[in-house]
């Protein structure tokens, strides 16, 4: 059973529109991550989130992107004014918990495929 569930599995949007991708962990997690994978390419780190704050972000994660945990459970990635090149798989990941799963391992969701037309 996956540690996180991502919704929707596929999102189609028009260029210039805003999209929100959601990640729902199945148990309490403290560390969250978003990654992006353009078709046929490697998985790229976007942002890490801890204690309701961004802890690290890559150069890809510009002002177009934002993350939050609006209700203390769901973890969302918002992309404002989507561009064609934003089309990709977006993966949410959580870090393993102490005393259970290994601390440094990240567990990935199945991803959301974003298609910008």
């Amino acid at each position: 059973e996956p540690e996180v569930t991502q919704t929707p599995s596929h999102q189609v949007t028009q260029m210039g529109q805003e999209v929100i991708l959601r990640c729902v962990p199945i148990s309490n997690h403290l560390y969250f991550y978003w990654y992006r994978q353009i078709l046929g390419q490697k998985v790229e780190f976007l942002v890490s989130f801890y204690n309701n704050e961004i802890s690290e972000k890559s150069e890809i994660f510009d002002d177009q992107f934002s993350v939050e945990r609006p209700d203390g459970s769901n973890f969302t990635l918002k992309i404002r004014s989507t561009k064609l090149e934003d089309s990709a798989m977006y993966f949410c990941a959580v870090r393993g918990q102490r005393g259970g799963l290994a601390k440094n391992i990240q567990y990935f969701g199945a991803g959301t495929r974003l298609s910008v037309l």
């Binding site: 490697k42 998985v43 780190f45 890490s48 440094n104 567990y107 990935f108 199945a110 991803g111």
Partner: protein
């Protein structure tokens, strides 16, 4: 960010043979590496990890070797099975625990 790359983009092996997937990294200060497997339509799944103070680590049917001198990682899969067909990524772990993935090697197991 750090640079992690793979030597071969594709690898085909006969079922039952051993597979070796290679990975080069550039940041000599990295102290933690992980191998992930990605099947079609799924997110990356953890396989095995290794710290920089280790040369070798074994799991179930998998072994990871680390050569810090030449900054090289390899993943060995024993007795490869059709279910092992997937893309395999090595990842270098940054100071904030963010993962920097390589390009990936597509493994195809021929029955």
């Amino acid at each position: 960010g750090e640079s992690v790359g793979l030597h071969l983009p594709t690898l085909s092996v006969q079922e039952g043979d051993n597979s070796i997937i290679n990975c080069a990294y550039s940041n000599s200060a990295s102290d933690y590496f992980i191998w992930y497997k990605q099947e079609s339509g799924k997110g990356p799944q953890f396989i095995i990890d290794i710290r920089s103070n280790m040369d070798k680590r074994q799991g179930q049917r998998v072994t990871v070797l680390l050569n810090k001198t030449v900054k090289h990682l390899s993943l060995q899969i024993a007795a490869t099975q059709p279910g092992d067909s997937a893309v395999y990524f090595c990842a270098e772990v940054g100071t904030g625990n963010q993962f920097y993935f390589g390009t990936g090697t597509s493994l195809t197991v021929i029955p």
